[in-house]
């Protein structure tokens, strides 16, 4: 009963209890000489953060990772959206490439890594391709569903107005597909982000948050790993916020979803 009548301030205060206990426990255990935890008490994280901020690696890593994500997302998602819409508009094209694409889709995105590494080496190019592949499929699936699922009555109105093929595309099919296209883009950016980090951890080329994580793990620098993980989480959270905002702005005309 009492829990129901918690004020906002109390709720926020209670939310801090668990993290504080965790951190206190961690600091205390670090002092007691546990091999792994001992390497990085919470207080050491600030030193590590200061270290990577001063020598510029954090900034370089974050910008390398973000560039990879956005370049891969841009190529993969625009190809995916274009192919998704094209296969929805031309059934013949869908018959020809649809089954092959759906067969390829079943492979887990990281599963492509060894093959891509074999074909393109494990450099920057291969990493971008992994991100493209990761971003491609969600964009394709959703934009296909969006363009194929346009309501019959909208198309009927178009026919009454005597729209030609191009006008129908411009005024009916594309706007109607937009909500799902946006869903696809949101998903594919999330996939691109995970694909980038995964590719960096597994291939470890040049700079990047995943590369730093992997290298720090090998040098047993727990503090650096944790700083990189926290940065990854924060950037992912930021990307998510931007996307939600973008979605709301672009889909203003849409009635609020249930």
């Amino acid at each position: 009963m009492s829990a129901r009548s918690l004020s906002r301030g109390q709720r926020i205060a209670i939310g801090f209890v668990a993290p504080v206990i965790l951190i206190a426990l961690w600091q205390w255990r670090a002092g007691s000489g546990n091999a792994v935890i001992g390497m990085a008490p919470p207080s050491a994280l600030f030193n590590a953060l200061g270290e990577v901020l001063r020598n510029g690696t954090l900034l370089a890593d974050a910008s390398a990772t973000l560039t990879r994500t956005f370049v891969g997302f841009f190529i993969g998602a625009s190809l995916g959206t274009a192919i998704g819409i094209a296969t929805a508009l031309f059934p013949l094209l869908n018959r020809i490439i649809g089954p092959a694409l759906h067969a390829l889709r079943q492979v887990p995105m990281i599963g492509w890594l060894p093959l891509i590494a074999l074909w393109f080496g494990s450099g920057e190019g291969a990493e971008r391709i992994v991100v493209c592949v990761a971003a491609f499929f969600p964009a394709m699936l959703n934009s296909h569903a969006g363009a194929a699922g346009v309501e019959r009555r909208f198309l009927d109105v178009g026919r009454v107005y005597g729209l030609d093929r191009l006008q129908r595309l411009r005024f009916i099919q594309l706007p109607a597909a937009l909500p799902l296209v946006m869903t696809g883009l949101t998903q594919s950016l999330a996939f691109a982000w995970i694909g980038t980090i995964g590719g960096e951890i597994l291939m470890g080329a040049n700079a990047g948050l995943g590369v730093t994580m992997q290298q720090a793990q090998m040098q047993q620098r727990l503090d650096i790993v944790l700083v990189a993980v926290a940065t990854t989480a924060a950037l992912g959270f930021g990307i998510n916020l931007i996307l939600q905002h973008l979605r709301r702005t672009l889909l203003r005309w849409q009635p609020v979803l249930p």
């Binding site: 829990a3 089954p99 887990p108 093959l115 074999l118 948050l209 720090a216 793990q217 992912g236 998510n240």
Partner: protein, 264 residues
């Protein structure tokens, strides 16, 4: 009469066979093109291997029991990790949805940790657990935990209050309220969460096996890459795709059975 029915059935069968053929034809043409392209030696065999050779490798690995070992090791890790992660997710989701105090105390921490991509935790887990079995199982469990916990939370919170009111009118005991209202009402959401958790767990497992393992589908591909055996890599791609497909289809079938009462 009977002949008419038979003919009708035959026609239907013929039509579905024809439909299957037309949808398979482009795929077969693609495979044929691949076969021709790789046999014409435009590309070195380390880069491009004819599909027939890949199938041959797949058969050989299946016969020698090597494939079976990799697949069963991967599926074993997936099962153990998923069961642990899903059970923890169910308990956690139920706890924070049933108790407002637990929600206030734990959900901020949970939401913060949820922002971390599972794959980014991999280097961390390697440091704590080494590169043995426990590390892979822990990764799979974490991948399954979050979707299941979120779905359980949403499912329990989404039960209309009116249903509990009806239960109160009937003077149901607590056990009956849980068994007759709460569980049936939350099953669809939870099953969806379990499906998402399982498919994610599979993807993450392949990734961890690529990174560090002595067996498993991911390790098979990684070894193939290091030894420039593209047939082994491609066989791994095919097997991991087929397993992912079967997991997804199986889970969807269970999901549609579990949510049947909704449409009925």
């Amino acid at each position: 009469m009977t002949t008419a029915i038979l003919r009708g059935a035959g026609g239907e069968l013929g039509r579905s066979v024809a439909a299957a053929l037309t949808s398979a034809a482009p795929l077969l043409i693609l495979l044929a093109l691949w076969q021709v392209a790789s046999m014409s030696h435009i590309f070195p065999p380390q880069i491009m291997m004819p599909p027939a050779d890949v199938l041959h490798t797949l058969f050989k690995m299946a016969q020698s029991g090597e494939l079976e070992r990799h697949v069963s090791d991967s599926l074993f890790r997936l099962t153990i990790g998923f069961v642990i992660g899903a059970a923890a997710g169910l308990l956690f989701g139920a706890a924070i949805s049933l108790s407002r105090l637990a929600e206030a105390a734990l959900s901020p921490l949970f939401m913060t940790l949820w922002q971390v991509p599972v794959i980014a935790v991999v280097p961390l887990l390697v440091m704590y657990l080494g590169i043995g079995e426990s590390f892979k199982i822990a990764t799979v469990a974490i991948a399954a935990f979050f979707p299941v916990a979120i779905a359980t939370f949403d499912g329990i919170r989404g039960v209309p209050k009116a249903w509990f009111d009806v239960g109160r009118v009937y003077r149901l005991r607590l056990a009956d309220t849980i068994g007759l209202i709460l569980i049936p009402a939350t099953v669809p959401a939870v099953v969806t969460g379990l499906r998402i958790g399982l498919t994610r767990a599979w993807v993450v497992l392949v990734a961890t096996e690529l990174l560090a393992a002595d067996s498993g589908i991911g390790q098979m591909m990684e070894m193939g890459r290091q030894l420039f055996q593209i047939d082994v890599v491609l066989a791994g791609v095919i097997v991991s795709g087929v397993i992912g497909f079967l997991i997804d289809r199986g889970a969807r079938a269970i999901e549609s059975r579990a949510t049947r009462w909704r449409t009925a």
